[in-house]
Amino acid sequence: MELLRPSSVDELDGGVFVHGGTEVVPLMRDGLLAARTLVDIRDVVPSGVRGRTIGAGTTLAELEADGTIPDALREACRLAASPQLRSMSSLGGNLLQSTRCWYWRLQYPCRLHGGDRCHAREGEHREHAIFANDFCASAHPSDPAAALLALGTRVRTNLRELDLGDLYQLPTQKRREIVTLERGELILELELPAVEASVYLKAMDRQRWAFPQVGVAAAKAGGETRIALAGVAPIPWLLGSLEDATPLPRTAWKVDVAQALVRRALAQLG
């Protein structure tokens, strides 16, 4: 295995991108990601907050301490992972992390791995999705992704600009990937629109270092409120109505939790 350290976007030529390594390294160790070439992108990806532009290389630890960013993003970063992980992990990498579904992590031949069934649906799924869970019941684990989705974030890559929502797609028979980036495409910056107020609330089963059971981000801008959820669907979920949830037998409780948190988030936005 080789490690490349390019200093500009122009030098990028294939390989597996790694920034903090908090996701890539465990995936490789567990045989979920094979790489002949690792590309350390820390000198390529912008870092830091400039107005409403956030470098994708900014760590969650930097963001949780930044008073200038919207509350929802700051809080989502603060409530994510552990202090050690937040010091290492980049915002861009956090958005691209894989599901924590144990079946996927343990390499069951599930639909995300190209197989023909979702093991969680009939198996152990107490932490799984309540929306869009027919094909794959995995739950998206990123707290910041839900916050950025509610905030209406635009993403700039080395190839294009897109809405954060378009960074993700539900897995289908034809395309099992949940991230829409092309090969060699790299998130460089995130552009946050102005919002009046925002909030992120998170239910987890311990106080720190837990992925969201349900994360609720809400942002108010121009008389409109957007709500996005983490941990409830295979991708970060822009909420229409909780009435439309299709919980599995052991995930019905998540709908109750989401209802309570949405109510509280809206109340906090005022």
Partner: protein
Amino acid sequence: MARLIRTEKEVEGRFETVWIVVEEDPLEQWPAGPRDVVGRPAARKDAAERVRGEARFTADIRLPGMLHTAVLRSPHAHARANKIDLAPALALPGVRGALGPGEVMGFEAEAGYAGAPVAAVAADTFGQAHAALAAIAVEWEQLEAVLDPEEAVERKLFAADPVHYERGDFERALAEADVVVEGTYRTSVVVHNSMETHQSVCEWVGDTLTVYTSTQYVWGVRDEVAEALAIPADKVRVVCEYMGGGFGSKNSAGEFTFAAAELARRTGRPVRCALTRREENTAAGNRNATIQKLTVGARSDGTIVALGGEYVLALGWGGWSTQTEGPLKMLYACDNVRTDRYAVKLNMPPMKAFRAPGFVEGTFGLECLIDELAVQLDIDPLELRRMNYAGSNDGTPFSSKNLMDCYELAEKHWERRHEVRARSDATWKRGVGMASQVWFGGGGPPSYAWVRVGSDGRAQVVTAMQDIGTGTRTAMAQIAAEELGLPLDRVEVSLGDTSRGPYATLSAGSSTTPSMGPAVRAAAADARRQIIEIAAQRHELEERVINVQHGLAISSDGNLAQPIEELLENVQILGKGARGPNPTGMSVLTFGVQVAEVAVDVETGEVRVERVAAVHDVGRIINTLGAQSQVEGGVIQGIGHTLSEVRLLDPETGRTLTTSLDAYRMPTIADVPEIVCEFVDKPDEHLTNLGSKGLGEPPIIPIAAAIANAIRDATGADVHELPISREEMLRALEAAQRKEPRGAPAAV
């Protein structure tokens, strides 16, 4: 003179008869209360080594030329390896040796659970060994797997004979009771997840094998390895200087040790076999799940007249049938008790002892049931417990029991419930709950210690015990220092090596301090006696007028006050001590009560433990600081079992799903509440020359029920299942809403 006697020994509620050698002239116990060194706070003797990273754990052992082992494990819950070909693995780069089923103990062709060890490969690096596993070709024949405990009971797939117990007339008493409460309680599988995974490094020098291993019992490993390899026990040396936690999962050698020893023999190289964190979560033991159908009958005045329990223990492929009904039989005075216990063998990872095995599970069920009874009777839960106080253990007198003192000390914590409840608001409901605890923990013989006092006036305690992280090294130093009249910093303890010290106890069943402490004190007393004899002869004084204190030999008239290093010059003193028997015809037990304060978010099902008061009765406390640390550890581990930890299996394949620490969720420091710790601290006058019992296990026993009872106090919801996840909490809240209103919880 040495005297041979036959006596009874107990570990974790299992009794056996042993022969032991004891010393004549047993020592009088010290008076109750703090002494110069004993009964006072002492920082760990090895704190500096630990924090500087100098303490050598098994995980730190790196020997020249050492090979690394990877273990091939069954992907099936039940299968037979009909054919296995190791040759392709052996041909790979770096691979030096391999072994298959039947070649060493613990590696079997029939795999009884997903994760059962089948073959092992030793290579220059762990990566090479791990890569070689893929090259091993196995022809599996899948066998029927049973994963449902209730089905296993029906089919009588018992891991041990069912156990029936009866006293009095349960049926009749129940029929005559004014109030009957029934409940079904379930506990889930939890995993020890010690910081140091199970591991050994084995090295042969000639025909002698040295085993560095993370263990709770160096002597047990020595005997097991000798037997597994068919070599004499004195050809095996076992070393465990520092140990990163065991909690019951490291009471025996384990197949990783046998594999390392055998591969070291075959390759002529030192071999390390260390479980990965994922293996640790799969195949290193667990606390088995239980289903408990419990019944209590009481008169309206609060007298408990009948207690019944039917217990199903879902053991997995290995393990033993724990006395889960123990608390129900022992905690309360009740003439009519009937219990049945069914331990079933399932195609799941094997159970191993886990910090108060059986009693943690059984106390959750019993103490929730008693609280539900208190609600029905409209009697204060503390009062109900006092009213039904057991005066004996089923007719056998206690060597000491101060649970009533615990209740008294707990009153001020219990009184807080009015103020705690008053802090409730629309979403966060607050309440207070309590639960009591009974457990063993008297320790027992045999255990031996030596105390060497050198011409430098320093003492060294030498015994081949192990400190599994509980701080017994420090407690033993305190005991020796107290007896020798030396300051604590002049006493060292050398332990953890079967070739450097006499036989010592297994560190399980809360037994290390009560087993070893008396032997260390006896050895120190023997050394002290010799110092006095030498002083008497040198200064032509009578022995009875000489004392040793603060490092000085002192005469009662004050004329002699000589530092012992001066007295001894180049004399070396060796004192020997043995652990005497436990009192015959008496039950040696530990007791306690915990009061938990919780807050429940009734909309999201979140449960927060805000404060725990733990009051325990374990005889004399040796190290008040170390004891507090034990209580905190037990409470924190118990909070994990109560709220967030659960080992999950795929119901279809029986494979473990929670294999990493982000999926298997132990508490973080942010989950730890304020923990208030109090001790009765009365020496057990019948127990040894110390009057001390063990404290490793008691603190984890009542916490789950105390939390569940606090939840009931806060919300009126009856939680019947561990862990109390949000799902379970929301279910219980909804059930409580549907239930007939039954008035205010827990009368004042």
